[in-house]
């Protein structure tokens, strides 16, 4: 019963986040909302697994956590720098020289 309440709470939180993802206003707000929806989906899938008595769903939750991170980084990098190919940071030894 409490687990079902948890699922309901997560769905409400996801709905609120979707509002933020749709209205924006800046792209960073949207990425933030997308990342947060991803985390909530991870939890939702794990909870559904418990509700249905299928703990094997946790594998899928783990994949979600991974993909969510990579997609967020890709979106962030693209919105900020308009490239996917350039390195995000200078090589460590160069940093040392400059510093």
């Amino acid at each position: 019963m409490l687990v079902a309440a948890g699922v309901a709470g997560l769905v409400v939180a996801m709905a609120l986040m979707i509002v933020r993802a749709i209205v924006g206003p800046s792209h960073y707000d949207r990425i933030l909302a997308a990342n947060s929806i991803g985390t909530k989906t991870v939890l939702l899938i794990a909870l559904i697994g418990f509700l249905f008595g299928r703990p094997a769903f946790l594998d899928v939750a783990l994949v979600y956590a991974l993909i969510n991170f990579v997609a967020t980084i890709a979106l962030m990098k693209f919105f900020r720098y308009r490239t996917l190919a350039s390195p995000l940071t200078a090589a460590p030894e160069k940093e040392h020289k400059n510093g």
Partner: protein, 121 residues
């Protein structure tokens, strides 16, 4: 005993869900990107910790507990990292916080100078 664990686990899951809703309300109501990132990342990690801990109480000890630990570790590694990268990208692209006292930033307001000053002590 098993019944008590069930209630503790379910209670933690429910509290975690309330945290998530609080975070979502924060993301919806706060005025600028940084406060929203703050609301989302804190409640995501905190809510995930509570919920996964609750599920660990609900599950039989064993492989499921281990997997829950891995999910928790992934969320704890990735959510703060993504929030940090997002906030620094937003700052360097010229977004400025709307609330709070930022007198100390007035001196070096150009995005490049500000980020360089922070990351290279």
């Amino acid at each position: 005993m098993a019944d008590a664990l069930h209630w503790v686990g379910g209670g933690l899951v429910a509290i975690g869900a309330i945290w998530s809703i609080m975070g979502a309300v924060g993301v919806l109501r706060f005025p600028d990107v940084y406060t929203r990132i703050h609301a989302a990342s804190l409640t995501d990690t905190g809510g995930a910790t509570l919920m996964l801990l609750g599920m660990a109480f609900l599950a039989e000890p064993g492989i499921v507990t281990l997997k829950l630990f891995f999910v928790w570790a992934f969320v704890m590694l990735t959510t703060p990292t993504a929030s940090n990268a997002l906030a620094s990208a937003a700052y360097s692209s010229g977004h400025r916080p709307r609330i709070g006292n930022f007198e100390f930033m007035r001196g070096n307001d150009s995005p490049e100078a500000a980020t360089k000053g922070e990351s290279r002590p």
